[in-house]
Each structure stands twice: as C-alpha cells, then as structure tokens.
Symmetry: C2
Subunit: 339 residues, 2 copies
C-alpha cells in the first residue's frame, strides 16, 4: 500500500497498535501532544520528539542556521505547553552532510541554546552522525506538569468555550512571502509586515509563559492542544479525542492586521491560512462556559493580551464554521506529511 | 572549519559547552552513554538517543526492514545497559521517502515491537515525516536505574580488573562478509559461520540480562561502558573519564571461533575487528581486583557464560595492548562518523 493512500494519520494509527508492554510505566501513550509517564508524588513526566528534515521542514536559503536551531526546539516546547507543562531537558540528534562547515552547525546550536537559556532548559544529550544528503534534526523534549494541571485533548466537555491564545495564520502568511520570493513574484509588501510575518514563520515562540498563566487561574480549563497543523486540524483532534463536536465562529477567529493586509495584497483569504496553514504554535483549548468571563479577564490582566473566544463545544460530532445562520462542515485536512 | 578536521569527538565537545541552564534538573549531562536525571527516592531516570540514516548506518539491500527496526532499538537499549539500568520506554521518529511502501514501514515497526516486547518496553510516541532521500530513524530511550547501581565511565579505580561480557569483533566480521558480497569477492565461507556473523552484525542483542546479573552480584562493579565503537575507543573513554590508564591483555581478548576462522579465510587479523570494529554491544567494565574471582564465578553460575578478564587499570594515562614483555600504545580511533 502507498503511504499517500493511507496518509500520515492512518500510518500513525497503524504504528500505534500494540505498543504497550509494561502498563505501569505509562499513563498516556501515543495520541496526544506528548506521552505522559509517572514521575513522583506531585508531577507527571512529559516526553515528545519532532524530526525536521532539510528541504521538507526548512530551507537553508531561507532560514539562518540560528533560526533552524531555535525553531526545532520551539516546536518541541510547544508540545509541552500543550499538555499544561514546562520543559526541563532536550536531546538533539543531528545528521550532518560532509559539505557543511563546523561554524554552520555551531550556529544551529547557538539558536538551540538561546531558546533553552530563555526557558531554563538543559541540553542533556543527543547524537551526531554523518548524513549523505541534507541536514536532519531530531529534538526530544522532556518536561514536567503538576498532576492537576495536566490537560489532554480528551478533556473537553459539552458547552465549553473554545479559546485560542493569539492571532492565527501568521506563520502561513510568512511562508507565502517566502514562496513568492522563491517564485520571483514581485509584490510590494511593506517591510514592517514582511519582517513581522517572516519572524512568525521562522522563529515561532512556544506558549510557555501563557500556559503558566492559564494554569495559575485554575478555573475550569479543560482540553488543550497547540496549533501546529492549523486550527481546523487541532479542533478536530480535540473533538475526536473528547467525543464531542466544535463550532468555530468565523468572525471571531483572530487574524493579525499584518496577515489581513497580506491577504488583501495576494488576493487570498487569510482565514484559510488560519484554518489550514499550521505552525502558529498558539494554544487552543476549552474552558467551562461559566468560568470563561473571569478566566479571560484574569488572563488579560496577567498576560496583557486577550484570550480569544472562538467557538463552543457541542454534543454531536464534527467541526463546523458558523457565520450568522450559516454552518459549514470543516474538513480536518491541515498539513499532512505524505500529501 | 571542516567537520572532518574537528572530528566527531571534537564537535561533540564543542556542542556540549554551555548546555546546562537549570542544574537541579540534571545529574549527569553529555559525556556518558545516557544522561542521568533525578526521578524519585529510589531511582534515577536515564535518557539517550541514536540516529540511524540509510546508507550511513544501514543498507536496504542488506538488512531486512525487521532487522533495521530491531537494531535501531537494540543500540539504544545497549546504552541503558551500559549505565546499569533497564529501559522502560522509547520514542521513534522516522523520516520516510515517498517511494517506500506502507508494508515496509510496518515491518520496521514489527522489528521494534519485537525487541520492545522481549524486554517489556513501551513505545510511547514519536514523529512520522516525509524524507526527500533515504529513511531516517531516531530512537529515544528512557530507562531507570537504582541509585546504587548507576555505573559511569568515570567510576574506574586504579588496579581494577577490566572485563568484558562476551566475544568481540563478531559484528565487524559480519560487516566484512557483507562488503565482500557487495564487491563480488567470491570467498567460500561456511554457511554456519556466515549466518552467525551476519546475525551478530544485523541483529545485535543488548546486554540487558547481563547487566541485571552484574548488578545482583553487588561486589565492587565500578566503571561501565558498552562496546559500540570498538574496544580501544571504549577503553579510552573509561580511561579518560576516570583519569586512569588501561592495559589490555592481547592474548585474553575473547574472539569467537567464527570470527577467527573468517580472519584466517580473509587473511585479516580478527584482533583489529575487536579493537576497532565496533557494534559488538558487549559491556566493558572494571571491578575491584579483590572481588573479581568471586564476581566472575557468580556471573558464570547465573548467566552460564564467562566474564572475561581482559586487562587492568593503571595509575598513569593511556590505553596499552600488552603481550609478554611488549607494550603497545593503542590509538583511540574506532569508528568516527566524519572520517
């Protein structure tokens, strides 16, 4: 069978069969942003990993080595944030073609060390090997979460408020700028907008401070996920895992001014970037409806930014985009690695 | 600077600088077979990872996908054994070219699940991505060790007995058979010998049962390492980390009959395979001299095989091969990924 036919999610579902041979060493296995393992009386251990391959996940002519290093760690930290936790350690495996200079690799590690220092995370090990083709980076992250702050995709309840922590579609808009440059499409984009969107795509920031604030409020935070594959895909993951449905309010999905302007310039709907673009690394979650007003007020006071109410959970399956009286069924298809 | 000039060990030394930003979350960082992290009252947490890249670490025309999966996990289990521990969980990242069938990937995972089941280890997560060229596999392993059973490379004392758990050079001999087949060198090798050595190279077994027996004896086991890069290289790692020297007895390095016969057939010294071949995944360690006789007797009784005395630690730096009155300085150069 062809991998394209079975798809990334089909492959994962198949590979995830018959993986547990020692139940007492595992709390949550394959199927959430990280695995959850027993640690001690107060904490769970979180572990996850991401592989980035040159030409598939980054381009040397677009990203600086510092940015490649920074982002490869940031995406892993985002998975830890999506569980309610914070990272403690990373391991870095790197496959290096012979043509690459020592200085280039050193610069990748500077990016990694920069974000690790920012969040007080240790680099504790890894592997360095030769690669016959492009650069390959695998980052494994370990983290911790207080037992009562663990938030799974499956924790949503019916009639929750669905929220996100920030504007969506910026990363996809940044990617679009890169594609335009590569295709020599000469569209005049104001440099302030260009810089903002490229930064969002090339050096995303994990929501580690945001999750600490959310946890501190302690008022009915239920499901949680990070937006790595696009809002539609992440909403589907919560809906499926929690066996509920989700309505997203078309008019309330937050889109930055920069992304809106780029959408106008390129005659593209920025909403598509938000729904299917991915790599925004904001958090999406659900909160008890009754607690949301005070929760969002507290969040704004602590973080200085809005907690955006973008939808609600419903008691039947599916993810829908609603606008006035209209209600459209949303496909899951965010980014699929084998398309 | 060229990576070849700085070399794998030089690169690792450089990348390992300034990696610790939170001392309370780490016990042992980069520089041993695994990192050691605080876990609970009785145990330490062990974490390590290895990256295998097609054409560099395995060839699809030589290894079956089952063997590729099995070995990629075995080498990680070996790192855990080398610390005195046992594995509990793995995460698997895999980069897959579009040309590969679903069945092939499934077979790789069957190999992984087979060895995980054998040692009661869970597969708890990972990443599946598309690769533009060959297959890339990164396995991260987590394990545990009782605090008093943690054995670092730096734990050797002067006047210890240096031991190994099994015959060395088999994997390099197996690799030699593969190279001969690839080069169409038609040397008649008895099929029993061929099968034995190919098995050792393609499906190595980690010393997880052996380390449990060694720990159980509890009599002066000091430094420990697994033989992934060749005996000379591993002896150097212990010597450097412990700030001692090592003499290896040329006549007592255990070499299997199969490897000896192949050496005769190919007119190659099997001792070179043992010293510089690597991938044997036996353990090398040091034990208080006074305890070694009873230790080795107990080991033989429990495991049914010998614990081979192959040398001794000395109070000045260097690794030497001794034979009668002769004493030769041994270079470290086992396998270096950037040669």
């Amino acid at each position: 069978m062809n991998l394209k036919d079975i798809g990334e999610f089909g492959l994962i579902a198949r590979l995830a069969e018959n993986c547990i041979f020692n139940k007492k060493e595992i709390l949550v296995g394959i199927g959430d942003d990280t695995a959850v393992l027993p640690l001690d009386q107060d904490y769970h251990l979180l572990v996850s990993c991401d592989m980035l391959i040159e030409k598939m996940h980054f381009l040397r002519e677009v990203s600086s080595p510092f940015q490649i290093g920074y982002k490869s760690v940031a995406v892993n930290f985002s998975d830890i944030a999506a569980m309610g936790g914070w990272p403690t350690s990373i391991l870095v495996s790197i496959g290096i073609p012979k043509s690459i200079s020592f200085e280039y690799i050193d610069e990748i590690y500077k990016g990694m060390k920069n974000i690790c220092k920012k969040y007080s995370v240790n680099i504790i090990g890894g592997d360095t090997v030769a690669s016959p083709d492009g650069i390959v980076i695998n980052v494994t992250v370990l983290g911790k979460v207080e037992k009562n702050n663990l938030h799974l995709r499956s924790h949503a309840k019916v009639d929750d408020v669905v929220f996100t922590t920030g504007t969506l579609g910026n990363s996809a808009a940044g990617l679009q700028i890169i594609k335009n440059i590569q295709n020599h499409l000469d569209i005049d984009i104001p440099s302030k907008i260009k810089d903002f969107l490229l930064q969002k795509h090339l050096s995303p920031e994990p929501c580690l401070n945001e999750i600490r604030i959310l946890n501190k409020i302690e008022l009915g935070l239920n499901a949680l996920n990070d937006i790595s594959d696009g809002l539609a895909s992440e909403a589907w993951e919560i809906a499926n895992a929690s066996q509920i449905g989700i309505e997203l309010y078309k008019d309330r999905i937050p889109i930055s001014e920069e992304t809106q302007i780029l959408g106008q310039l390129l005659k593209t709907s920025p909403l598509d970037w938000a729904l299917y673009g991915g790599e925004d690394f904001q958090l999406i979650g659900t909160i008890d409806k009754i607690h949301f007003p005070i929760f969002s007020k507290e969040y704004k006071r602590e973080n200085g930014t809005d907690l955006f109410e973008i939808g609600r959970t419903i008691n039947y399956p599916g993810v829908f985009l609603v606008h006035n009286e209209e209600k459209v069924y949303l496909n899951k298809s965010g980014f699929n690695h084998f398309d």
